[in-house]
């Protein structure tokens, strides 16, 4: 199927997961991602897959643990409050090195917050969330097409590194409809998983999926192994996009749907003769520190725009490392910045 389809982000994500070979999906309803479980409740039976509505987000992430440990490509999804509930499971999954894809169509917080779009889970996704020294690979699509492409990539990265991968969207991306194209080829050959608990026929060592290591020496060794893996991910998997940054004096830094808004503001600034550009991280972890830092050679200043009270701006400051001023503009609580608001901030810095 290579024709263009008009789909909601949530539904396109579900279809992309199916085409990536995901055949098990466990989730619990929450706005604004419920179109995803609704879509997969219809779609999974068509492809012989499993859709199961769990009793809670906690149960859903632990079903993911079990299915992933059994060797399956598996996904769960939720929105901010539900993602908080999954943090225990994510820590165990990262510790046990199980591949899986977790979708966060984020909404305003803290607490029950709102059902409107937000980026206020950035720190939770990129700096921890659960307990222990672990990392999620975090992918931030900015269009429905990129939702499809990054979802397929997410399953491949998860398997390659035996690590959970988060798709970080927001309510806007999940709800909006855009034309999308899916890859023709349905992936059927999954990478071998000799570590999976599939039944022990004595042809290999007994497989045990666990995050427990009571001996401190061995747990430290395990942590060193994880850190080496994360270092490899940092070397090989950083992704970002740049728009008119070549001669930019004001570099706007934004990800996801906010990057779309910021791009309109950059265009408007250029029409006014302001040399503005856009730097868009696609991987929020690993973060493109070096690529962003290089722009500090020519840029005068940086403007971080987020749908929160200032979270990614901490990484922008790390990337720029004090060489140029870093400014922040944010809306929160489910408020979405307009291109005019962002343009006004750019004009202040030009």
């Amino acid at each position: 199927m290579s024709e263009k389809l008009l789909m909601k982000g949530n539904e396109a994500l579900g279809e992309a997961a199916v085409r990536a070979g995901c055949r098990l999906y466990f989730a619990y309803p929450i706005t604004p991602q419920s179109e995803l479980p609704e879509y997969l409740s219809r779609r999974m039976p068509e492809v012989g897959g499993v859709f199961l509505q769990a009793e809670s987000e906690v149960a859903a992430i632990n079903m993911v643990y079990g299915a992933s440990g059994a060797g399956a490509r598996v996904m769960t999804s939720s929105s901010s409050p539900g993602i908080s509930l999954k943090q225990e499971g994510l820590s165990y999954i990262a510790g046990a090195e199980l591949p899986c894809v977790v979708v966060n169509m984020a909404r305003g917080g803290p607490g029950l917050g709102s059902i409107q779009p937000s980026q206020s889970d950035y720190l939770q996704a990129t700096k921890g969330g659960g307990h222990g020294d672990y990392r999620l690979i975090v992918l931030a699509p900015a269009s429905v097409q990129e939702v499809v492409d990054l979802t397929i990539l997410a399953f491949d990265l998860a398997d390659k590194y035996r690590n959970p991968v988060m798709i970080m969207g927001d309510g806007l991306l999940g709800q909006m409809m855009e034309p999308v194209t899916f890859p023709d080829e349905v992936k059927k050959e999954l990478p071998p998983k000799p570590w999976a608990t599939t039944g022990w026929t004595k042809d290999r060592p007994k497989n045990i999926i666990t995050s427990l290591e009571l001996q401190p020496e061995r747990l430290e060794e395990h942590n060193r192994h994880l850190q080496a893996k994360y270092a490899q991910i940092v070397r090989e998997e950083i992704r970002w996009d740049e728009y008119l940054t070549g001669d930019a004096e004001v570099v706007v830094v934004a990800y996801g749907t906010v990057a779309r808004i910021a791009r309109s503001a950059v265009d408007a600034a250029r029409e006014k003769g302001i040399k503005a550009g856009l730097f868009r991280p696609i991987t929020l972890w690993p973060y493109p520190y070096d690529a962003l830092g290089r722009l500090a050679d020519a840029a005068k200043n940086f403007l971080t725009v987020e749908m929160n009270c200032g979270q990614m701006v901490e990484d922008v400051r790390l990337a720029v490392d004090g060489r140029r001023p870093v400014y922040f503009y944010g809306r929160s609580g489910g408020m979405v910045p307009t291109p005019e608001e962002v343009l006004a901030e750019i004009e202040k810095l030009a």
Binding site: V50, E55, V58, N62, M63, A70, V74, G199, T210
Partner: protein
């Protein structure tokens, strides 16, 4: 010479970390015997809990996953849904299953997940040092109920087998004890049946096993066995609460 009593093939030939007199070892053996007799070891996957049996994966010759506290039924659900032709069992204590994991066990049972749950109830938190469990008897002293469990403050000990037997989907629910040879024989039959129900009827089965904790009860092993008989069985009656034909 013909051996008449040997270690089950599914029971690993290793020393366990369990305290002297603890009955986890008996329950492990009964599970391994059932797996051997049904000849399902090569397609069985176990799920270990958090608690004293957290290292159960070292003691069985089958593939194993170690779950977060209370989440074993959800983990088992994920395994079974991914590999429907495998035999999946959880091994859980009373803190794990009857306290932090109540949502997971109730809903796995209510969905009729085709898994086998071995629920070891010793009326106390063993691994963490003898704190009060939801199953601790009224008046029973623990490190967090030093004056005895006050039911006005903490409620009454929870009877999980009876509670789960009210659900429609489960096929087999029983309570047994491992404090005497006769009870151990009954326990063996119930545990084997709980695996048979999964294999033959593709249904949910749970066996609650009343067990001792000499260390945290502060009793020598023999007296602990008697304490179980005199105090636990009157409150937690033995028997089958749900058998396959009822569910049909």
């Amino acid at each position: 010479m013909k051996p008449v009593f040997t270690r089950p093939r599914s029971l690993a030939d290793v020393s366990t970390h369990y305290c002297p007199g603890c009955t986890h070892g008996i329950v492990h053996r009964l599970i391994a015997e059932a797996i051997d007799e049904l000849d399902i070891a090569e397609r069985t996957i176990g799920v270990a809990p958090v608690g004293c049996a957290v290292l159960a994966y070292n003691y069985f010759n089958v593939d194993f996953q170690e779950a977060a506290h209370g989440r074993a039924p959800a983990v088992a659900t994920g395994i079974k849904r991914a590999l429907p032709d495998r035999v999946v069992f959880t091994y859980q204590g009373d803190g794990d299953l009857a306290s932090i994991g109540t949502a997971e066990i109730v809903h796995a049972a209510n969905r009729g997940e085709a898994i086998t749950v071995i629920y070891v109830n010793n009326a106390i938190y063993g691994m963490t040092g003898g704190q009060m469990a939801p199953t601790t008897l009224a008046g029973q002293k623990t490190t967090t109920s030093p004056f005895g469990r006050d039911v006005e403050v903490c409620g009454y000990p929870i009877r999980m087998a009876e509670l789960l037997a009210t659900l429609v989907a489960p096929r087999y629910i029983a309570r047994v004890a491992v404090n005497s040879p006769a009870h151990i024989q009954q326990a063996k039959r119930a545990i084997k049946r709980a695996f048979e129900v999964q294999v033959n009827d593709h249904g949910f089965a749970l066996v609650e096993v009343l067990s001792t904790c000499p260390t945290n009860w502060g009793l020598p092993p023999k007296k602990a066995l008697a304490w179980l008989e005199e105090n636990m069985i009157p409150y937690y009656p033995l028997g089958e609460f749900k058998v396959p034909k009822e569910a049909e």
